[in-house]
């Protein structure tokens, strides 16, 4: 069935071949074999325009932003701010000043926990997260709770890896001040009903932070339609560079939040008697920012939009269906994360074979998958496994690559019968 489904996409296969030419890293050899890269949930490859945009900045207009009168600084500032506007467009934020550049998802969440959490949350206030959060959406809240005496509540998921929405509604009370929830789970692939969650939370006057690290780049995300208060993601999972990420926040909250880091570029004036802070977004961007990273991210957004989310989601859905079917031919293979609504993330275990042994053996076939707990140890604890193997797909992957993974897993079964 999955095979037939793929056959109808013959024309797409040709397009994907062309698209693959845009990604130099897809064309390397590992252990003398063409690389099969199935670790896109960890980081995605970068298309040539991203690499060129960053090299262009370093080769032709290296300079600091917001500081210089000279030509290069002006050019860099324009490029940096243009990227901010591209992010705004991508997620449909109202204003560019609602887009804060950070180092990544982790820093964005920490910024909210530090700046919003420490100033607006009090003893006894409750923060709601889910059992399927990445450690980056657990630990900052644990630190905050310990410091402020807030209470962290956990919404469980069922054995398919779907959030128990009834439990969420039960845990959501007048004490809940903040809900911080992952949009797409990195270890299960589950797509959470964030729109419904946000509406319910707002009825209880709780704010909502959406961790969209695994969502942007795989489908359209609209912060106005969602009505989330904060949304965070990383550039490097969106075909952009590492070290750059985004915090989107509604201006009404960001305005009232104190700065995260103090330093240059985030001030309006400094005297030893009193310092006044810069306006948004600069209040949250102390120090020289990752200029090349922001420019690269802007180029990545242009690239993704040129491919189009229709193509991206169609291709990824088709790969998910094909992969789900194909992997079942491996003796004993069991999927971890079988939600009805999920992205192209295939986490699995092979009874009797530890994921690290799988990782080593498939690596020899030139195949890159992730093995381990994926920074979601509570998810592993839920399923009673120490780790899983995870193949995470992007639109540039092919069914041939999935076949190579399946072949490699059959070989793993030969070593560990």
């Amino acid at each position: 069935m999955a095979l037939a489904q793929y056959d109808i996409n013959d024309s797409m296969t040709t397009d994907i071949k062309e698209i693959r030419e845009d990604f130099p890293n897809l064309h390397v050899q590992v252990h003398g074999k063409p690389l099969v890269y199935l670790d896109n949930a960890a980081t995605t490859f970068k298309p040539r325009p991203v690499i060129e945009a960053m090299a262009g900045y370093y080769q032709k207009y290296t300079s600091n932003v917001h500081r210089g009168i000279h030509e290069l600084s002006e050019k860099a500032t324009v490029a940096y701010e243009t990227s901010r506007d591209k992010v705004r467009e991508l997620i449909n934020a109202r204003e560019s000043r609602e887009i804060i550049f950070t180092r990544g998802t982790t820093e964005s969440i920490n910024l909210v926990a530090y700046s919003y959490g420490r100033h607006f949350l009090n003893k006894g206030d409750e923060i709601l997260i889910s059992e399927m959060e990445h450690h980056s959406n657990i630990v900052p809240w644990q630190i905050l709770c310990e410091e402020k005496g807030c209470v962290l509540k956990i919404v469980p998921f069922n054995d398919l890896g779907e959030l128990c929405y009834d439990e969420f509604e039960r845990l959501l009370t007048s004490k809940t001040k903040l809900v911080s929830i992952v949009y797409v789970s990195n270890s299960l692939g589950t797509i959470n009903p964030v729109h419904k969650i946000i509406q319910a939370a707002h009825q209880h006057h709780a704010l909502v932070l959406v961790d969209a690290a695994q969502a942007v780049g795989h489908g359209p995300v609209d912060v106005q339609a969602l009505d989330c208060d904060f949304l965070v993601f990383s550039g490097h999972k969106l075909f952009g560079p590492t070290g750059i990420g985004i915090l989107y926040g509604k201006a009404e909250w960001l305005e009232r939040m104190p700065p995260f880091h103090g330093g240059g570029d985030m001030i309006s004036s400094v005297t030893f008697a009193k310092t006044t802070y810069a306006v948004l977004p600069y209040k949250f961007e102390a120090g020289t920012p990752n200029v090349a990273g922001a420019i690269g991210l802007g180029a990545a957004i242009d690239y993704v939009r040129s491919i189009g989310f229709d193509t991206i989601t169609t291709q990824e859905k088709s790969l998910l269906a094909y992969g789900t079917k194909a992997l079942q031919s491996v003796n004993g293979l069991r999927f971890i994360g079988t939600a009805k609504e999920k992205t192209a993330i295939l986490s699995f275990i092979l009874p009797g074979v530890h994921p690290h042994d799988i990782g080593t053996l498939v690596n020899e076939e030139g195949i890159a998958i992730r093995t381990g707990h994926h920074c979601t140890q509570p998810v592993m604890q839920h399923f009673g496994v120490p780790a899983t193997s995870r193949a995470s797909l992007a639109f540039y992957n092919t069914t041939e690559e999935i076949d190579r993974l399946v072949g490699a897993l059959h070989k793993v079964r030969e070593v560990f019968p």
Partner: protein, 153 residues
């Protein structure tokens, strides 16, 4: 240079010790024990020891835990190698095993007392897996030094 894990890493001895690990049990009347943990991969084990006197010999040694084939086989082989040894010999084996898995000791060229442990001589070709083999040894050493929890990074 690439290496074939099936000849270098997953040799029959290792596969067999993974499948049927020796001394995979708990010892209740221990003189020393410690917990080993690799936070990066989640490997987790307990090493139990009972010494006859302060300098040994090791009267009984066993382990329990969860880990990959390499870590399980390494723990199994460690227990069979250390049983009956005095602590002085344990130190020598610890040192030789470490040089072996880092590629600093070639069992075919240098004198050693590793015996069956030399099956791990190819592991240094797989840098990501060296810690899988060494966790149990660090845990055993920690137990003898009365450290309760050993963590590799």
């Amino acid at each position: 240079m690439t290496y074939d894990s099936r000849s270098e890493l997953y040799q029959e001895v290792i596969i067999e010790h993974n499948k049927n690990p020796k001394n995979f049990r708990k010892i209740s009347d221990t003189t020393h024990q410690a917990e080993g943990y690799n936070p990066l991969c989640g490997d987790h084990l307990q090493v139990y020891l009972r010494l006859e006197g302060p300098d040994g010999p090791i009267e009984d040694i066993a382990f329990e835990g969860d880990g990959c084939a390499i870590s399980k086989a390494s723990a199994s082989l460690m227990t069979t190698s250390l049983k009956g040894k005095r602590l002085q010999e344990v130190d020598i084996l610890f040192d030789q095993f470490h040089r072996l898995i880092k590629g600093d000791l070639d069992p075919e060229k240098s004198p050693h007392i590793l015996g069956k442990l030399s099956v791990f001589s190819g592991i240094w070709h797989f840098p990501a897996r060296v810690k899988c083999a060494s966790l149990c040894w660090h845990t055993m050493k920690g137990a003898l030094q009365n450290v309760k929890t050993v963590s590799t990074e």
